[in-house]
């Protein structure tokens, strides 16, 4: 198959890459783009480890063709910290031990960030249902949910 040349914006920076037409965005991120922070847990949209945002909308990168990213704004885990300044969610996850093995963490953070951008005061139930698409096998989700809610509270307090 002839490769396709794609021009897009990733974490605010212009990006271009070559890919097969049937490559997913996850394939492109982890392959030619060298952005391995998004993980493949299932390649079928059931685990959320590959979560990214496209034009600020939360999606599974394994359920999107790489070619579709042309002309859109892609945000991945690699764009959450600014230089050596961690995003409040990243910092809170560390402080509250909201990760163990870390394989789900990229997706959890991207998904949590997407939630807090839409809803600055989510209830526990809202957090849980929003994150239902992000599987974690290590933590039982307890500390993750607490970290998201505490970050939301911190962010409300500073605003």
């Amino acid at each position: 198959m002839a490769k396709v040349h794609v021009t897009t914006t990733i974490n605010g920076e212009p990006s271009e890459f070559l890919c097969e037409p049937n490559d997913t965005m996850l394939d492109a991120l982890r392959g030619p783009l060298g952005l391995t922070g998004s993980k493949e847990g299932c390649a079928s949209g059931d685990c959320g480890a590959c979560s990214i945002t496209v034009d600020d909308r939360l999606v599974c990168s394994c359920l999107m063709l790489a070619v579709e990213s042309e002309g859109h704004q892609i945000s991945t885990i690699e764009g959450m910290a600014k230089g050596d300044r961690l995003h409040p969610l990243q910092q809170k996850f560390l402080e509250m031990a909201a990760l163990q093995c870390g394989i789900c963490t990229s997706g959890m953070l991207v998904a949590s960030d997407a939630l807090l951008k839409r809803n600055s005061n989510p209830s526990e139930e809202e957090v849980r249902f929003w994150l239902a698409g992000n599987l974690c096998r290590c933590t039982g989700y307890d500390k993750i949910v607490r970290a998201v809610m505490e970050t939301a509270a911190d962010m409300r307090a500073t605003n």
């Binding site: 952005l35 993980k39 560390l94 870390g102 096998r137 039982g140």
Partner: protein, 753 residues
């Protein structure tokens, strides 16, 4: 919570050393790395549950442009069936046939060949060009089917009681005489239970990247629970000497026991050797579910007899566990752990290892023990009801304690089981009111825990900080625990301690990450290494002050004279001594390698509240408290994390997780859509009460904690459903169709005799 607060670092919720990389996506897991010239490997797998392999023709695959190597069973070292070769608990006879089918394909998904090519797509296409001549054979998967008199026998050499059989072995644990014991019982409850196979469910599929030079020097980068196991198994199966293999542990995305053996590494090594190119192999989720080892499905019968005052006098457990394609189900865990929390004079616990045409079982968090405990703890609940006793009181009355001789052998030292029961009784959860269609259940559990080999090195940097190298992949936060301990012992800020995991070339032998042993074992060798370093630091200070080393103490990160009589000297800090090191005798560091001892079993007691939707049969866990004797919580958040993670796996096992097979004997739900693990909205907060009864044999009092949390869960939930509905369940999972069937069934209650 009972957390030690007079330590500066031990018991504190420090930030884990690997944390920043993990929250920024920088942490390198096995599939994240590439090497120049890398090619891709794929596996061809048997479509049949049971088939003799008459021949394999790989010529068309080899001719496909882009294909660089093909591997079949011929390339794997053979371990003849008549001689057992053990590596830990794994028998290489089965391992060599598990990584690639030899005489027979024994489950759908069993590898029969592997290909390496310049792209994944070409490798996959090449697999389809391999022609395998199968003689399809009848198959059986479920224990009952595998035990039928006309069942297809998987292994011709296997005999049980003189006859060809799928029973690979029997294990027994015995104390006293149960015949006499049951005669003295005034009340007896006997029940039978079944469970389905469940998968560890790690989110990261198996992956490796391997490079083999022309002189056999091999570098393995892989996701595993033991780089030394990876090295050893790969050496055994490829014939490359261990000293030529460097196995580097990547960050691991979950294991829970499922990554304590290898699937891909020997294949990728042979492909890399044949092709002269680094080979990367990553399993798909479907391959993980079909071809790696879930735990056993099971059939158990448990009979417990007691006096009317609640004293348990006899207990008999019979556990049949599926091994899958090769012998090795975890009957040891079922047999040894299920009655272990109790002081029972007469016990017989028997386990049967049953082979059948499904993937070979792999370890899953306290292997075998959850299956045994599920049965025993449910029977105890019925016994308590028949005796009109509170279920915690029944357990307290019969609780094992210091001096109790366990049926599986040891005499218990100071243990904290009773403390977990008392904490459960006293907890706000246990007293909280319940609403309509809500119920509460309790259960306990025990796991052996382990010590085993561990190595550590502690080196002081030239700028006066600390690098600690340990030998076990970190799946639970052990690096944070080690950092806490080393910072505490040296009296320095936690952030000055760097903890790394070495590979097989850079650290001494360290046994698997599993058995709830990593922090226990690695902290012993790290502690001893730090103690040696402190000894050196005291000697250096003594030399500078020209006093006896015995007159120097180490405190708060510096050497001090032990008393004013020893001399008036300003303290010498770690940084100062490090700076002077080259002129004072050389580098400051020490390493220790040990086969650590003194690990004692872990005990837990859980309280589960459920709510049942009786029209749909849906059970929801609405409140959960896990109470465990953790010895000493070096890093409380990561100890809690083990409890919470184990509980959530148990909730999945109790309610919705199961392997479903279709009529062709293939797994019908090989993905996260229909293999239903708990999602975030399924679970409540999981409260933890950590009881600390320090382990007297460990320098910081540590006990292993990781495995116990899975053990009581399924029974606690089953007992809770009974409390809500008045209906007992005797099989897992308690999924909605099954729950509704029981709810709608006419009243059939099995009474105690």
């Amino acid at each position: 919570m009972n957390i030690v607060t007079d330590n500066k670092w031990i018991g504190q919720r420090t930030i884990r050393p690997d944390g920043v990389d993990k929250v920024t996506g920088r942490a390198a897991f096995a599939a994240d790395t590439n090497m120049p010239g890398m090619i891709w490997g794929k596996v061809l797998r048997s479509p049949h549950p049971h088939a003799r392999i008459k021949g394999i023709d790989t010529s068309k695959a080899e001719a496909l442009p882009g294909v660089k190597a093909v591997v079949t069973a011929r390339d794997i070292v053979d371990f003849p069936l008549d001689k057992s070769v053990m590596l830990g608990i794994q028998d290489m006879r089965w391992m060599c046939r598990n990584v690639m089918a030899r005489e027979k394909a024994l489950f759908p998904g069993h590898p029969v060949a592997a290909v390496a090519a310049t792209t994944e797509a070409i490798a996959a296409q090449a697999c389809e060009l391999i022609e395998v001549d199968y003689e399809v054979l009848p198959w059986s998967i479920e224990i009952d089917d595998a035990l039928k008199s006309d069942a297809p026998i998987l292994h011709d050499f296997m005999k049980f009681e003189g006859k060809p059989s799928n029973i690979a072995g029997r294990l027994e644990v015995k104390k006293g005489d149960i015949t006499a014991g049951f005669e003295a019982a005034e009340i007896v409850v006997e029940r039978s239970f079944t469970t389905r196979p469940v998968h560890q469910g790690y989110i990261e599929p198996h992956a490796c990247l391997i490079s083999v030079a022309a002189d056999n020097k091999t570098t393995i980068w892989s996701s595993s629970q033991g780089q030394f196991m990876v090295r050893a198994m790969t050496a055994y199966l490829t014939g490359i000497p261990q000293s030529d293999i460097r196995a580097i542990p990547a960050e691991i995305g979950g294991g829970f026991g499922g990554k304590t053996i290898v699937y891909l590494e020997p294949l990728a090594t042979l492909l890399a050797k044949k092709s002269g190119r680094p080979v990367k192999m990553v399993m798909t989720r479907e391959e993980v579910m079909r071809a790696t080892g879930p735990t056993s499905g099971s059939k158990s019968t448990v009979k417990i007899g007691a006096k009317k005052d609640g004293t348990i006098v006899a207990a008999h457990g019979i556990y049949y566990l599926q091994a899958g394609a090769f012998p090795g189900s975890p009957i040891r865990g079922a047999v040894g752990c299920s009655f272990a929390p109790y002081d029972i004079p007469h016990v017989l616990s028997e386990g049967f290892d049953v082979c059948s045409n499904r993937s070979k079982v792999a370890a899953y968090r306290a292997p075998g023990a959850p299956i045994g405990a599920y049965a025993v703890e449910c029977v105890l609940d019925e016994l308590a009801e028949a005796l009109k006793m509170d279920p915690l009181e029944l357990r307290l009355k019969n609780a094992a304690k210091e001096g109790t001789k366990a049926a599986h052998g040891p005499v218990y030292p100071r243990i904290g089981y009773i403390e977990t029961l008392e904490a459960a009784k006293a907890s706000p959860h246990y007293k909280a009111p319940l609403g309509k269609l809500q119920g509460r259940g309790v259960a306990s559990g025990f796991w052996f825990n382990a010590g085993g080999e561990s190595s550590a090195q502690v080196n002081i940097t030239e700028d006066g900080n600390v690098v600690v190298t340990t030998g076990h992949p970190d799946i639970g936060g052990s690096r944070a625990g080690i950092a806490n301990i080393c910072a505490e012992l040296l009296g320095i800020d936690y952030r000055r301690v760097s903890v790394l995991i070495g590979d097989t070339a850079t650290i001494g032998f360290s046994n698997l990450t599993g058995g709830s042993r990593v922090l226990f074992a690695s902290s012993i060798v790290a502690t001893q290494s730090v103690e040696k370093v402190i000894q050196t630091l005291r000697e250096r200070a003594a030399k500078i002050w020209e006093i006896d080393p015995d007159a120097v103490k180490w405190d708060q990160g510096a050497a001090h004279p032990v008393s004013p009589n020893a001399g008036q000297f300003e303290p010498l800090t770690l940084a100062e001594l490090a700076e002077k090191a080259p002129s004072m005798g050389g580098p400051i560091g020490a390493g220790v390698q040990l086969n650590t001892q003194g690990a004692d079993g872990g005990f837990g007691t859980h309280i589960a509240d459920v709510e049942v939707d009786v029209d749909l049969g849906i059970v929801r866990v609405i409140r959960y408290t896990a109470i465990q004797d953790v010895g000493r919580a070096i890093h409380p958040a990561y100890v809690e994390g083990q409890l919470q993670g184990g509980v959530s796996q148990g909730i999945g096992w109790a309610l919705n997780e199961e392997y479903i097979y279709n009529k062709q004997g293939k797994v019908d739900n090989p993905g996260f859509l229909d293999y239903r693990m708990p999602v975030c909205s399924d679970l409540p907060m999981i409260d933890c009460i950590m009881v600390e009864v320090p382990n007297p044999k460990h320098p910081q009092g540590v006990k292993g904690v990781g495995e116990v949390p899975l053990i009581p869960v399924m029974s606690a939930i089953s007992n809770a459903i009974y409390n809500a509905l008045g209906k007992r369940f005797y099989s897992l999972p308690m999924s909605p169709p099954k729950v509704l069937e029981v709810i709608d069934a006419p009243e059939t209650r099995q009474a105690a005799e």
